[in-house]
């Protein structure tokens, strides 16, 4: 052991000591950071921001606002916007630069209209969240909004920068409008009113609104109770994906008031009698989980105390798995399924009776039965207590044959015998040689049950097939479409690999609700007699970027959710 060795040993001890000290300091710093994160003494909400559970703009949204739409500019999904746009552009026109061009046009228009450049005047200070809310609105007798009070809240990360922006805006409006720029103060916040817009900064939020009164409501919400504190909002939004780009919310009370006011052929139904009266609110969101997928979620929050027994049963049914996909063939191109036609009818029936009275309701049902030979209130809808499904599939017969398509409705029942009796009586009545509606031909379904084909001289090209079999009421555009149903479950949609793979993109536990094979429909239309028309139809051509659209649902005691995913064509 020489001197060099001792020096090395001494240097090693110092190095170890330094390492220990550095480690200890790092640990203390980490601990301090953790404490800061948990206690959040500066109100940064860092953890909640990362989890997608905090929205700064919401702080200024009054609790009883009708509508809220907010954008999280730092959502991980935002980074995919350009990529998704490139995917869409490549699949449609091949021009991925359209988005850039759109941005440029918006920028030019803003400079012209209000003297503001997004790039130069807004980007330098804008923070993570932007929120727009309709604070209040009234509707005219045609359901159109009037007297809309709105509020836009934008988070700032640079108060000085945002104040400069507001000053520039005020100066521009003052010069342009020759006029009435009014400045006032509320709760220590300077508010500027110019023509039909008011603005100011309260804390870390830049607010713009339809009036200073609206801004004052926003400031009050910041200091008191905002929409984010309401049970309906919390319940609905908690079910939405955390990394969403856009969050929306519709207030249930306001929705019911609007539904009650909107003109319909039905008599006015008071908000408390609407089937939606138990809705506290509906949250919705938009996210981009992958470059070839756009996801839209909606969650309806119910007030459990207002839910009727029928509504609770419908929620339970929604949560149950679906089986009708095993009835439809694997080449099915559109499929929608649900449960509880009987319950849904019962809800609507009760709402109607509460408003118009039982006598008037029953008289209208009697008139329907007299006119169309079927009492759907007593002899049809109450029997449809199972799962139902609507499918569109390839077919060369029936009303949709020009497009190479056929349509089928299958509605499940637990009382096939009664349903068969109803349908047989209906068929006998409409097929009467004297005074009937047309000709009805009955035959047996291969799988069991009776199918009726209806034709009428009044509409020579019209065909309708319907019947009862295998615990389903069946309705189709042709008998062959009904015969294509897979009562044995073989080669069915449910067994198709593509169908099964599609649901892997959905959260666990969700039950398939619908899907549309857009690519398949496009291909079929291109090969059909309608090919020339389809090629020039803007709706059809604009769908060329989409391969499939699918939706799945999930329900709990007080919430119902639906997730829809648009699958883009990737080239």
């Amino acid at each position: 052991m020489g001197m060099d060795t001792r020096v090395l040993e001494s240097g090693g001890r110092r190095g170890r000591r330094l390492a220990v000290m550095l480690s200890a300091a790092s640990a203390v710093l980490l601990l301090l950071a953790a404490v800061l994160l948990l206690l959040d003494p500066f109100g940064w909400h860092i953890i909640d921001r990362l989890k997608g559970e905090y929205d700064a703009a919401l702080d200024a949204v009054p609790a009883d606002s009708s509508l809220y739409v907010g954008v999280n500019l730092l959502s991980p999904d935002v980074s995919r916007v350009d990529d998704v746009w490139a995917t869409i552009s490549a699949a449609s026109t091949g021009d991925a630069g359209q988005f850039t061009e759109l941005r440029r046009k918006v920028e030019e228009q803003l400079i012209q209209e209000i003297g503001i450049s997004i790039e130069a005047d807004v980007i330098p200070w804008i923070g993570q969240f932007i929120g727009f809310s309709v604070v209040s609105a009234e509707w005219d007798e045609f359901g159109q909004p009037t007297n809309v009070e709105w509020l836009l809240a934008v988070e700032t990360r640079d108060k000085e920068g945002s104040d400069q922006f507001l000053s520039k805006l005020a100066a521009f409006l003052d010069a342009k409008q020759d006029a009435m720029v009014d400045i006032s103060d509320y709760q220590g916040v300077s508010l500027t009113q110019a023509d039909q817009i008011a603005f100011g900064r309260s804390g870390t939020l830049v607010m713009m609104g339809s009036s200073t009164d609206t801004l004052k409501q926003g400031i009050d919400a910041q200091q008191g109770t905002s929409l984010s504190h309401t049970p309906g909002f919390q319940q609905a939004v908690a079910k939405l994906p955390g990394d969403r780009v856009l969050t929306g919310y519709v207030n249930g009370d306001q929705l019911n008031r609007w539904l009650a006011d909107v003109p319909t052929p039905l008599p006015h139904i008071a908000p408390e009698n609407l089937p939606t009266s138990a809705v506290q609110g509906i949250g919705f969101s938009f996210s981009l989980p992958a470059v070839d997928r756009i996801q839209i979620d909606a969650a309806t929050a119910f007030d459990p105390e207002k839910l009727s027994a029928v509504q609770k049963r419908l929620l339970q049914l929604t949560a149950e798995s679906e089986a009708a996909a095993s009835l439809f063939p694997e080449e099915t191109m559109l499929y929608i399924t649900g449960k509880g036609i009987d319950g849904s009818w019962e809800l609507l029936r009760r709402a109607m009776i509460a408003e118009i009275g039982r006598d008037d309701f029953e008289e209208s049902m009697r008139m329907f039965a007299k006119e169309f030979s079927i009492d759907f209130d007593q002899q049809l809808f109450p029997l449809l207590d199972g799962e139902f499904a609507i499918g569109i599939l390839p077919s060369s017969e029936g009303a949709l044959a020009d497009g190479g398509l056929g349509a089928v409705l299958a509605a499940g029942t637990s009382d096939e015998q009664s349903l068969a009796t109803t349908v047989a009586a209906f068929s006998e009545d409409i097929g009467r040689p004297q005074g009937g509606l047309g000709q009805v031909t009955a035959s047996e379904l291969p799988a069991g049950g009776t199918v009726y084909e209806f034709e009428t001289a009044l509409l020579p090209d019209f065909q309708l097939a319907y019947g009862v079999g295998q615990n389903y009421l069946l309705l189709g555009t042709s008998k062959s479409a009904l015969s294509d149903l897979r009562f044995d479950g073989k080669l069915s949609l449910a067994n198709s690999g593509a169908y099964q793979a599609m649901w892997e993109a959905f959260p666990d536990g969700m039950v398939p609700a619908f899907f549309v094979d857009i690519a398949g429909l496009r291909k079929l239309l291109a090969e059909s007699a309608l090919a020339a028309e389809a090629a020039s139809e803007p709706v059809i051509t604009s769908l060329s970027v989409i391969s499939r659209v699918a939706g799945a649902s999930l329900a709990a005691d007080d919430t119902a959710q639906i997730t829809a995913i648009i699958f883009l064509e990737s080239k």
């Binding site: 003109p263 319909t264 118009i356 209208s364 008139m367």
Partner: protein, 238 residues
Amino acid sequence: MRMRHIVRLFIASLLLFTISCREQPLADLPAETILERAITRMTSVSGFHFMIDRSGAPAYLDAAETLSFRQAEGDYVTPDRARAVVRIIAPGLVTDVSVVSVGAIQWETNVLTGQWEELPPDWGFNPTVLFDTQLGLPAILTSDLSNLVRVESQKLDDSGLLMYQLSADVAGERLYQMSGGLIGPGPVTATMWIAPETFELHRILVVEPVAGSEESSIWQVDFGEFDLQLEIEPPTIK
């Protein structure tokens, strides 16, 4: 002794109170006089609120029997303006439409859109015809009644006022014209409730037997807010 006086006084007071609280019988007028005064009042009134309610067998607005009149509630002001909300029952559908009539022109809200539309001449239900001097109630009450009798006076549900009650048979032809075919042309029976003092007609109840139906159509027409002052203007059409 003194106690007996007090008891007598109490009983006398009670009797006086009971007598004073008893309903005064209505003046003993013949049915024809009551009706005549009611018609006079009806033709002099400047406006009123009305409610027409049909129950029992349906009354169809069309020959195909797909639209049934149920109810109309509205206001009438002389000489020829009326507005009403009319309930119509169709197969599987109960709907309310609003109606405004100014002279011969009539507007109605579209069942699907709720927007006001001017109706072609002689279409729809025009409430002003109810009060037409040639075709309406004044003419029917003057000329078409038979077997008019006064029956026991009665209070109406919503009024504490004891009213004259008259009953009569009514020829149905003019009624048929007035109602656009909803009532008549066969004979019907009618009961009328008329207020004493003012001789305002508060209610007419018409019972119409319906051929081929076990139940009759029952029409109850209520009037109120007599001499109503109201501006009824043509609706704004978007």
